[in-house]
């Protein structure tokens, strides 16, 4: 069966296996069907040799977190992320993954009011103990949040879907830091409700492409700053997903918030560093896809007492967008490895620039904050003029 994977892409892999240790699902299972090399092997069998799509083959594809940790590890530059996205999209078309109810569940992401209402309902339900713990929701989801107000038009601040509903405080912090650096900020809000990353991962390509077009239509002119690593990675990839010159030009205007601030570090005010030992947990889509994770360190370093690295080579935490809900067992095992690495680093707090990672870690009791929240705190507590 044709999975619609580019034949040349499929041929690049020489099966050397250097990707294996960088794959979270292989790391926790030791099973090569849950590794990039094994999955590529199965893609070839299905697409080139017409092997049947058995439940186990589908499972091999469905268990991929899509962290893309294998890509920087690959000396042959196999575009694995594209290949698994394409595979998922084909599997959705033939009804093998992401059933209708899951596709339906993705719809509210593009409708802020609906998402907001749903989030409040979940937050209330969670507060009164009605949400099963296996859903892995962190405690204390916000029930009421202050609105975001534009302060100028130097930069767009992309607010997104889940992050705006559940972590708007991070947007407020981001806006304050940008303003402290002298930038007037336009929050995108309802103009561009969702980037489409979760839809792309689920293989619902049509939904994702429609959302991408809306984002590009609405956000003209200024740099688009993104404080969610997953959204930033998706938006930097619009050029490929839509294949238009306009999308490519748009992608060039997209920056991770730390990447942008690192380029304007001289404009950030001095502040008394927070008395914290902070472990940096790189979201995969910041480290392996955008590859701008060093900026997080450069920007954060002056504002905290101590930065500490994890010793797990940037292995995924298991959040993977909706992965932690769809594959709770594997996601939990992957998170256990991450928590062991965090414990070895003995931090006071973990900094992670992606809502999925921080919620997934927080749900296991790891104190996790966005790096911009820490910078904002340092600047705010130091007071103006410092």
């Amino acid at each position: 069966m044709d999975l619609n994977i580019d034949t040349d892409d499929l041929n690049i892999c020489v099966q050397c296996g250097l990707c294996l240790p960088h794959c979270p699902t292989y790391r926790v299972t030791g099973d090569e069907t849950m590794s990039p090399r094994g999955r590529i092997n199965l893609m070839r069998e299905v697409q080139d040799n017409d092997a049947p799509l058995t439940d186990e083959v589908v499972d091999a594809f469905a268990t991929c977190v899509q962290c893309r940790g294998c890509e920087p590890a690959c000396p042959s530059n196999v575009p694995y992320g594209q290949m698994i996205e394409q595979t998922r999209e084909t599997l959705v078309e033939v009804g093998k993954v992401t059933p209708a109810w899951q596709q339906l569940a993705l719809k509210p992401l593009a409708h802020p009011k609906l998402l907001r209402a749903g989030s409040v309902a979940v937050a209330v339900a969670s507060k009164v103990g009605m949400v099963p713990t296996r859903f892995g929701l962190p405690e204390g989801l916000p029930i009421r949040q202050k609105p975001l107000v534009a302060s100028g038009d130097d930069v767009w601040m992309f607010t997104g879907c889940v992050m705006d509903a559940w972590q708007r405080d991070v947007h407020h912090a981001t806006q304050r830091v940008l303003e402290a650096a002298g930038f007037g900020v336009k929050p995108t809000g309802r103009l561009a409700p969702c980037c489409g990353a979760l839809q792309t991962h689920a293989g619902v390509g049509d939904q994702a492409r429609r959302l991408a077009e809306t984002v590009i239509d609405q956000l003209e002119g200024q740099p688009v700053l993104v404080n969610s690593a997953g959204c930033g990675a998706a938006m930097k990839d619009y050029g490929r997903t839509l294949g238009t010159e306009r999308a490519k030009a748009f992608s060039h205007r997209v920056f991770d918030i730390s990447e942008f601030l690192a380029g304007h570090a001289d404009r950030l005010p001095d502040a008394t560093p927070l008395d914290l030992r902070v472990a940096v947990q790189d979201p995969c889509h910041l480290r392996h896809v955008q590859r701008v994770h060093h900026a997080t360190r450069d920007v954060l370093r002056p504002f905290v007492r101590e930065l500490v690295e994890l010793d797990d080579d940037g292995l995924c935490c298991g959040a993977g967008g909706a992965y932690s809900v769809l594959q709770p067992e594997l996601a939990g095992q992957i998170r256990d490895r991450k928590i062991a690495a965090i414990d070895r680093a003995t931090p006071d707090v973990v900094a992670s620039a992606n809502p999925g990672c921080s919620m997934h870690l927080a749900a296991a009791g790891v104190p996790t904050v966005h790096p911009l929240t820490l910078i904002d705190q340092a600047i705010t507590t130091s007071g103006p003029g410092n």
Binding site: I12, V14, Q15, G17, A51, P52, T54, D59, A60
Partner: protein
């Protein structure tokens, strides 16, 4: 050999996948294995069996039978007992990064993946050993030991992936084995489950174990004597200081001569690695470490020890480089630069996919003095067969890795690769070399064993093997060539369909 090569990776049929959901339950050993391990740690579905029918080599053999993921020595023992009762073959497997086909199944054997036996059980820095499971990843072990001031010295290029069990099976080398010795020098004892289910301890923690060195027999036996379930490895202290030099040359001959001069001068650097221009370009395109892409060859030289002594050695190496017309000599300024240079060297095989989708790699060792002449010969052979060859090798110990790169879809190319490969091996043997430095014989080099050993040699090797494995059931059909092996290799080539159909 040609037959094997022509059935390259991508042409393996999907027989296992075609058997349908769960691959059926007709293999009688599956239920017994599941009862002995756990239902989810014995897989028999088409996806699993297809994936575990390959390793990093280009060889396709049979199809994996039941795939087991044991956690303990006792579980491995149970697998061996069941296999013996049903007269089934067993193939042990680590990370499957072997390049000689050592881990591919022939026929439809039970595959024993040791990846989950990955515990570092005990680290004794006072007595400088550690007990580890065979599934521990080589680099994970070194990372675990580094804060304690030690490391595991063998560092194959695949060290970030490959397992200690695989290192033991192949007696693996690596760039830094020039100064420190290969795996055999770093394994004190091995707990082994024999094909009849007996658990034996080979070697020991004491410095001079009594009796024959059966540990030494087991290391490098490529899974044909039994399955290692625990390994006592030697801990090597981390050197107080390290300096890495990158020397570039107009010709690979100049690089090779520099290597010979360094060794002749009485130095034993930690590592001496040479890459030719083609491979350097591919590597630099991936790693961006500042490798010169316009030089004919580069030499990566590393010295370690006391800061004062390595400074002297580094100067000496640079002087010998200049004597051999070095174009440029660069000293890595910091650990990051050093790490980037090594990352380039260690990902060289994978990087060639940028040039062509298939490669065929040899692993011969030649006397250092003959390096330059044999390299000339290799380029000449490849030219004559209209093939692209790249050379990246452990120059310090004369271990060549000529890579023939090709696209197997091109008609006739596989036969030319086979012929060129055979000539390269012959040229190495003629120069006084040996078949394999570190990758093992596997299925890849069996055909050359007859040229290197007499019939009597091979018969003795087979008797040694049968002392451990009288039924020739662990990793059958590997190492010892057909005609000398107790396993009928020809029969193993055909997959016994009724096993699962």
């Amino acid at each position: 050999m040609a037959g094997l090569l022509s059935s390259v990776r991508k042409r393996l049929s999907s027989d296992a996948l075609r058997t349908g959901r769960n691959g059926g339950q007709t293999d009688p050993v599956v239920a017994e294995l599941r009862a002995a391990l756990a239902p989810d740690r014995v897989r028999y579905d088409g996806a699993e069996r297809t994936v575990l029918s390959h390793d990093a080599s280009i060889y396709a053999g049979g199809v994996a039978g039941p795939v087991c993921f044991p956690l303990t020595t006792t579980e491995v023992q149970a697998i061996m007992v069941i296999a013996e009762r049903h007269t089934r073959n067993v193939v042990p497997r680590g990370a499957g990064t072997g390049l000689a086909g050592g881990a591919i199944p022939l026929g439809a054997p039970i595959v024993v993946s040791v990846t989950r036996m990955n515990e570092i059980e005990q680290v004794d820095t006072a007595n400088r050993f550690a007990w580890v499971g065979p599934g521990v990843v080589n680099l994970d072990l070194t990372r675990h030991l580094t804060p304690l001031g030690f490391h595991f010295a063998p560092d194959p290029s695949s060290q970030q992936v490959c397992t200690i069990g695989g290192n033991v099976a192949n007696n693996s080398g690596g760039p830094h084995c020039l100064a420190y010795g290969v795996t055999n020098a770093h394994v004190l004892a091995v707990e082994v489950v024999l094909p009849n289910g007996d658990i034996v301890m080979l070697g020991g923690l004491e410095d001079e174990p009594a009796g024959y060195d059966l540990r030494g027999t087991f290391v490098g036996s490529e899974g044909t004597l039994g399955i290692a379930t625990r390994v006592a490895v030697r801990l090597t202290p981390n050197p107080p200081a390290v300096t890495t030099l990158l020397l570039s040359f107009e010709t690979i001959r100049d690089a090779a001569n520099t290597v010979s001069d360094i060794i002749a001068a009485g130095m034993v650097p930690a590592a001496l690695e040479v890459m030719d221009q083609r491979i350097t370009v591919a590597v630099e395109n991936y790693v961006h470490a500042g490798y010169p892409t316009d030089a004919g060859a580069v030499l990566l030289a590393e010295v370690d020890g006391l800061a004062e002594s390595i400074e002297i050695d580094a100067h000496h190496i640079a002087a010998l480089g200049h004597k051999n017309n070095a174009l440029h000599i660069r000293v890595a300024a910091d650990e990051a630069e050093r790490a980037a240079l090594w990352k380039g060297r260690k990902t060289a095989f994978g990087a060639i996919a940028q040039i062509a989708p298939d490669y065929y790699l040899h692993d011969t060792v030649v006397p250092r003095g003959a390096l330059a002449d044999v390299l000339d010969k290799i380029y000449e052979i490849a030219d004559r067969h209209d093939l692209l060859v790249m050379n990246v090798f452990h120059a310090g110990d004369g271990n060549l890795h000529p890579l023939l790169v090709f696209d197997a879809r091109e008609p006739g190319v596989v036969d030319r690769v086979h012929q060129a490969g055979a000539e390269i091996v012959r040229a190495s043997l003629d120069a006084g070399g040996v078949l394999s430095g570190e990758h093992g014989i596997g299925v890849e080099k069996q055909a050359y064993m007859d040229e290197f050993f007499t019939a009597e040699d091979l018969a003795h090797q087979n008797r040694l093997r049968q002392a451990f494995d009288p039924g020739c059931r662990t990793n059958p059909g590997k190492v010892i060539p057909s005609g000398h092996s107790c396993a009928d290799i020809q029969a193993l080539r055909s997959v016994p369909r009724d096993v699962w159909a």
